[in-house]
Structures are given as C-alpha cells and as structure tokens.
C-alpha cells in the first residue's frame, strides 16, 4: 500500500514534511516498548523490510524517533491522535524521519492495516 494512500485512508496528520510520499509500505510493527521494537526489528534479515515499514506507537517522546533511527525505519505513526512535542518533531525532521498521527487506536489501526494487506514483522523476518 502506498504511503500516500495510508495517509488518506487513516486521515493522518503530518508533523514533518511528506518526504516519502510514493513509498510502498509492506510491513508494520507496533510497540510502546522500544526494547521490543529494537529486539524484533533488529532480527530482520532483509533491509527492504525495514525500509518499507511503519513503526506504530503510542509513545510520543524522543525515544520513538531515536529507536526508528537506530533501525533505519523512516516512518513513525502515532496512534489515538497523540500530539508530539516540538522537540520531538524537530528531532524527527533533523533525522529525516516522517512523523504522523492518526485518530484510530493502536488496535484498530493495526487491524485495519492488516486487512489492507500490510504484514506484521516477526522475529527473524525474511522478505
């Protein structure tokens, strides 16, 4: 699914410029616990998985952006309409990470995306 379609369908609010408009999104992972994201996404075997991945989280602090940076994930989606602080937005801009939010809850966002064909990342994910 194209990122631009996700933005439209999930009525995403963009906090950073839409730099990855045409990007294809094939995978997603959701976590509020950044250690979980680090452990599972670190085990991925193919770099294409993370380059076409969304990190879905309710964590609005710098740490969600830093975690995405460490893993080379380009897009962070905040759920339940959470509003990040300016310093978080600035960090995302500085690192070239697209930060956006949707009003849907984490469960509903994940369920809808799964129904849209976006796959969840599992431990040792192959392409």
């Amino acid at each position: 699914m194209k990122l631009s379609d996700i933005i439209k369908k999930y009525q995403c609010h963009l906090y950073t410029p839409e730099i990855y408009h045409d990007k294809e999104i094939t995978y997603a992972f959701c976590a509020d616990l950044m250690s979980d994201a680090l452990m599972v996404l670190n085990s991925v075997k193919d770099d294409r998985v993370l380059s076409e991945c969304l990190l879905i989280t309710g964590l609005t602090t710098n740490q969600s952006i830093r975690t995405a940076e460490m893993l080379d994930v380009d897009i962070v989606l905040l759920v339940r309409g959470k509003i990040p602080s300016l310093k978080v937005i600035d960090l995302a801009k500085e690192l070239g990470i697209m930060l956006m939010s949707t009003e849907y809850t984490m469960f509903n966002t994940s369920g809808m995306m799964y129904a849209d064909g976006i796959k969840g990342i599992i431990y040792n994910q192959q392409w």
């Binding site: 616990l33 452990m39 075997k45 964590l59 602090t61 710098n62 975690t67 940076e69």
Partner: protein, 141 residues
C-alpha cells in the same frame, strides 16, 4: 579511532545522542547494514541503561580492523546482582522510565544477543559494560 561521549542521568531528551553519532559514523564507514543495526541496538540499550539506572557516566566507541568495541562506564550505584539483571523481564526501572518506552528488563539480554562478547562488572562505585562486535563475520562481509 576512539570517541568518547558523556551520558547524563535521567535526561531523556539527550538519551540516544551517543548511539546516534555511532550510527552516523558506521553509516559513513559503509559498514554493512545488519552489522550496523546490531551495534546500534546494543549501544542504544546500553546508553539508555546509563540514563535510567546510574548517576551518569560516559561511553567510548572504538573501531579497529578486528572489531568494534563499546564501553559504557557509570558512577554507580551499581548492579547488586548481575545474574538477576541478565534475566529477561527483571527490572528496577521507575514509572518515568516506562513512560519513555524503556525499563522492561530487556536491556542487558538484548545487548548480549546483539553482541559477540559482553562482560559486565559492577560494584557500588559503578558499572562497566564492555561490548565487542567482531568484524569479518557473516553480516560484515
């Protein structure tokens, strides 16, 4: 090449700055992607641990032909039982740490999993975490 970074206790705004610089350096060196990710995940967990659990400390990042070596030193209060701290899920983190997405007791186990060699020494004066990532392994070829 050796670099040193200061790590400030309880400062979540700056937490991850050292790992971010390490990441940029490895990228600039064209170190393979999966190797980069392994080093950075461990580095980030270790850095967060110093922020969460200590009164502050520093990290060193060394690159040589054989390995990438990370050392994290802090000034206490130390880990009373290292074996227990290595258990997945064991944590002494506070609500503030949880609110920042950490403190689930996965830090040390994650570091061990990501690195090729890990040693932890600790007493009341501080903790030293030593992480080695060997170059020339499958993910660095």
């Amino acid at each position: 090449m050796v670099r040193e970074y200061q790590i400030i206790a309880r400062n979540y705004d700056l937490a991850g700055r050292a790992s971010s610089d390490i990441k940029r350096t490895l990228k600039a060196m064209n170190v393979p992607w999966s190797f980069q990710k392994r080093v950075c995940a461990a580095s980030y967990e270790a850095e967060i641990n110093v922020v969460i659990h200590s009164v502050g400390g520093y990290a060193t990042f060394e690159v040589n032909d054989q390995a990438i070596i990370l050392d994290f030193y802090d000034d206490g209060p130390g880990i009373p039982n290292i074996e227990l701290a290595m258990t997945e899920g064991f944590s002494t983190a506070s609500e503030l740490d949880h609110a920042n997405g950490f403190g689930a007791g996965m830090g040390l186990p994650n570091m061990k999993r990501s690195s090729d060699l890990m040693t932890v020494t600790s007493d009341h004066e501080g903790t030293h975490v030593h992480l080695v990532f060997l170059r020339g392994k499958a993910d660095e070829k």
